[in-house]
């Protein structure tokens, strides 16, 4: 039993080297397949991170009138925070709003001069509210409108709720997010199927060249496992080497592309690669080994029938 296993392992390695050209072709195709799978994974990560960033930028702003009593503002803030759909509320006081305005317009002398002439702070405090899901903004906005309706007309507190203004862009963003996620799933699926089919066919061709040998081995009285074993081992070797190669290919690519994605998507893919190296290694090498093993086992099975 152990002797048989050792012989199968040895035959696997010898077969790998003596069919170097065929092994090379299989590894080449498998590497490309794994590279495509890996690239899709990175792309997915990029998409979901940028979607999360985008989503965090969506909010509802409540602008209070400049002389709104602070207790009323506190009360509304507490009420909004208590809503189950709300993820966070950021309060900006009148003074902070003014400082922000000055900072934003520091190159605009006309705006600053106009502010000086007013002699008092024309800006009200405001609340920036984030919901957990973009679809929940509707209900938060409804709550705020109800609050406004309850106010005494002579002492208004809320000056403006800007959801109505943002509503269209929020709706569009929600549908874009959903469509992108669905599309990337479909693309990943198609690429995965294509990669599997190409790999399977390449290995099948590689083993096709060995069909005479398989017939001879059967004639000599080799058991099916004794014939199949070396090919299975070669499939595993193809998968392992290809996984490592694909992983190595990503290194220079991500060194180059990392800073660019950091600028645009707020995620440095190179950092992601380094931090999640273990997982990415596991996934790529794992998929490679399974793909190689299954392909070669199925391919040999053809010649072991009858």
């Amino acid at each position: 039993m152990i002797t048989g296993f050792r012989r199968v392992v040895k035959a696997g390695f010898v077969g790998f080297w003596r069919n170097a050209y065929v092994s090379l072709a299989s590894i080449f195709v498998l590497t490309i397949a794994l590279f495509v799978i890996g690239a899709t994974m990175f792309l997915n990560q990029l998409l979901s991170t940028s979607l999360a960033t985008l989503q965090s930028k969506v909010d509802i702003n409540v602008y209070f009138v400049p002389d709104a009593p602070i207790e009323e503002i506190e009360r509304i803030k507490a009420a909004v925070e208590a809503l189950p759909d709300v993820a966070g509320v950021v309060f900006t006081s009148r003074e902070d709003a003014l400082a922000e305005y000055r900072e934003r317009n520091k190159d605009n002398t006309i705006a600053l001069q106009a502010l000086e002439e007013l002699n008092e702070n024309p800006l009200g405090a405001n609340l920036a509210i984030q919901a957990k899901e973009t679809s929940q903004y509707e209900s938060v906005a409804r709550f705020l409108e109800e609050q406004r309706a309850l106010e005494q007309p002579q002492t208004p507190v809320i000056d403006e709720v800007n959801f109505a203004r943002n509503k269209d862009s929020i709706d569009t963003l929600t549908s874009i997010i959903n469509a992108t996620e669905r599309a990337s799933f479909i693309i990943l699926g198609i690429l995965l199927i294509a990669a599997i089919l190409i790999t399977f066919n390449t290995i099948r061709l590689a083993i096709y060249t060995a069909r005479e040998e398989i017939a001879i081995m059967r004639l000599v009285g080799a058991s099916n496992m004794f014939i199949r074993g070396p090919f299975m081992l070669q499939g595993i070797m193809y998968g392992f080497i290809s996984g490592v190669l694909a992983l190595l290919l990503f290194y220079p690519l991500l060194v180059w592309v990392g800073p660019r994605t950091a600028a645009f998507f707020e995620l440095n893919l190179f950092d992601y690669y380094i931090v999640h190296f273990g997982e990415i290694f596991g996934v790529l090498v794992g998929i490679g080994i399974v793909l190689g093993l299954v392909s070669s086992t199925l391919a040999v099975a053809r010649y072991l029938r009858t």
Partner: protein, 227 residues
């Protein structure tokens, strides 16, 4: 030792036949030559013995074993009792002469010590000690066939099946191969060989079965090539 009982092999729903009602037996230590034109059914007959082909009617026995009732998983075990030699040698192209012979023993589950002892012995029996580490493409036709013979005998099989072993060989290589087969037979192994080489038959001077159209038409104990 081998017993064919009324064996027929039909193709195309019975409209053509490779074998028709063949009945004969081979005793232990016999050397049987099967002769006949191409398509006479010689190769089909041999394929029945190694369970590569199954009969449409009738049974083939190896001793008391019905060959075509052997379960698939036991077939490798059965085939290890038979050494096979073919016209096209059927060597593993990526293995050296030594490895080709050793492979048959490895497949048999023999130990490394047995392999190290028996492979050189088998190769010297066919006079190929100096070509042990050559690959098949580096050997001549006669040398390749001798490697195939070494592989066939290395497991000490009960029977050797040789399908046109001299078909691709020149007269000198043919003579050598026939001498080796006779030597193996003299050492006690049954040999069944097909051929259409008249010289080979006349030289062996043993039992000859003549086939034509899937039937046995002659069976002579010390036959000559008659067609």
């Amino acid at each position: 030792m081998i017993y064919f009982d009324n064996v027929s092999k039909l193709y195309n729903d019975g409209r053509s036949a490779a074998l028709q009602e063949v009945t004969f037996q081979v005793a232990p230590k016999e050397f049987v030559s099967i002769v006949g034109h191409s398509g006479a059914g010689k190769t089909t007959l041999l394929k029945m013995i190694i369970a590569e082909d199954r009969p449409s009617h009738g049974q083939v026995f190896f001793e008391s074993l019905d060959i075509h009732r052997i379960p698939k998983t036991r077939l490798p075990n059965y085939r290890r009792k038979i050494g096979t030699i073919f016209q096209d040698f059927k060597l593993l192209p990526h293995k050296t002469a030594y490895e080709n012979v050793a492979f048959a023993m490895e497949a048999n589950g023999r130990t490394d010590a047995e392999i190290a002892e028996n492979v050189p012995h088998a190769l010297s029996l066919v006079d190929l000690d100096d070509k042990a580490w050559n690959f098949p493409h580096e050997l001549s036709g006669g040398e390749k066939q001798r490697v195939a013979i070494a592989r066939a005998i290395v497991n000490q099989p009960d029977i050797i099946i040789a399908d046109e072993p001299t078909g691709n060989l020149d007269p000198i290589a043919t003579y050598e191969v026939v001498q080796i087969l006779r030597k193996i037979n003299d050492l006690g192994t049954t040999v069944i060989m097909t051929t259409h080489n008249k010289g080979v038959i006349d030289e062996i001077e043993r039992r000859v079965i003549t086939m034509d159209g899937g039937r046995i038409v002659r069976d002579d104990s010390t036959g000559k090539y008659v067609l």
